[in-house]
């Protein structure tokens, strides 16, 4: 098996061209999942009746579902029921004009929300009870205590896990190629289709993923360095 540098660069360029698709998918999914995960973890932490039991059951069950299975399942449901639902809602967009990436968004957001909510629940446990009480004792309400005292203290606890989740998500976003979304890997393989230069294509895709992953790790490193200052004992 020979390795053509020219084909590799063609694939690399093509992969870079589609990198924004992957980055956007990863970034938006992550931000939305973080917000939803925070809500679920908070509801469960405060044991809000009904909702907390519902989320507990949902997260437990959903965490067992492989991302690929979920993706193909939602895609199938979408293909099957789109026209009926669209007709009922008077949407005149034909199914061929709907970008399949939104199925990817739904799949990745639900999955990531579940796993992120568990990390956030873990971070809640890392905060001493007296931090809540101190907030209440100076007259702050539950919400203010949560947003001004508890959440900021959870950040340094959460960072290593969030870095992990984000890189995991970056790699999982690759699965959307299964529902014909063109992202980094399928992008890298576009030139390969013409010249049968698959090895170069896969290596180029790996390199681009690795570069984005490295950027995330560097960012996380700086974030960690700056957010945990108060934890260090300088005396």
């Amino acid at each position: 098996m020979s390795f053509s540098i020219t084909s590799f660069f063609d694939s690399f360029k093509s992969a870079l061209l589609y990198a924004p698709v992957t980055i956007k998918l990863t970034a938006i999914t992550f931000v939305v999942s973080l917000l939803l995960g925070a809500v679920i973890a908070t509801v469960r932490n405060y044991r809000v009746p009904v909702l907390s039991q519902f989320f507990a059951a949902f997260v437990t069950i959903y965490l067992g579902l492989p991302t690929m299975v979920a993706l193909l399942l939602y895609n199938l449901l979408f293909m099957t029921f789109y026209s009926d639902v669209a007709a009922a809602l008077h949407i005149s967009v034909p199914i061929s004009d709907v970008n399949p990436i939104f199925i990817g968004y739904i799949t990745l957001i639900i999955g990531t929300t579940c796993s992120v909510s568990e990390s956030i629940r873990g971070a809640f446990r890392g905060i001493e009870k007296v931090q809540y009480e101190a907030g209440y004792s100076i007259g702050m309400g539950k919400f203010k205590t949560l947003t001004r005292i508890i959440f900021p203290q959870m950040v340094p606890i959460l960072l290593p896990g969030m870095q992990n989740s984000l890189i995991g998500l970056l790699k999982a976003s690759n699965l959307v190629s299964a529902i014909s979304v063109v992202e980094i890997m399928t992008g890298a393989l576009l030139p390969s289709l013409m010249y049968y230069s698959y090895l170069e294509g896969y290596v180029a895709a790996a390199l681009v993923y690795w570069m984005i992953g490295a950027a995330i790790e560097i960012l996380a490193h700086f974030a960690e360095k700056n957010s945990g200052k108060y934890l260090k004992r300088t005396a």
């Binding site: 007296v130 907030g135 004792s137 100076i138 007259g139 934890l231």
Partner: protein, 250 residues
Amino acid sequence: MIELTGVKKSFGKQEVLRDVSIKVNDGEVVVILGPSGSGKTTLLRSINFLERADSGIMKFGEKEINFKTAKKKDVLYMRRHTGFVFQNYGLFAHKTVLQNVMEGLVQVQKKSKSEAQRIAEEVLDNVGMLEKKDSYPSQLSGGQQQRVGIARAVALKPDLILFDEPTSALDPELVGETLEVIKKVAKTGITMIVVTHEMSFAEDVADRVIFMDGGVVVEEGKPSEIFYKPKEERTRQFLSRIIPQDAYVI
């Protein structure tokens, strides 16, 4: 100032407070003594609703609150008119000394940042912690943290400050500096309820001592009465265990 009547509280099957009634007058410093498990901390925390008593009435200034039916606004009212000093300090770990004291002034009392900073610096100066205003709690000794904790409570100018065993978590050599600060606060004439095991402090500072055991008030009176002429056998037993025998002679 504050009057509690018939306060009851159980944790599960365990009755921690069984019908406690106490009254604290304006400007009075009251020390609550008692063996561990006597309910003194629970009583103190009930005033600030850090613990929800099952029943009882609390009169605070003009306000009358029933523990059973207290609403959110009653809880906030009590918390905004009382200060609380925790046994394990309870400083906000992610905020500097100055930010700890300013937090309530800015977020709760809605003072401007500059005004809050002026007040915070003045109070920190009073407890001897102004130099450390930019330090984080993790960089301070226990005694220093507790002085900041006291400053945070005092800065909000509450009508009543509750101290929950403020020196119990401290190394013996740091107890003195913290007690000095509490004495200083007491001299400003603010009403205080202090749960402590420091007998000499109680004797020096308290206008009145309340002795609790088994979830009830056993006896109360001036420090000299309680310490040297206790009426109840249970008080005598407790004191004999914690005051060295020779102290009785003096």
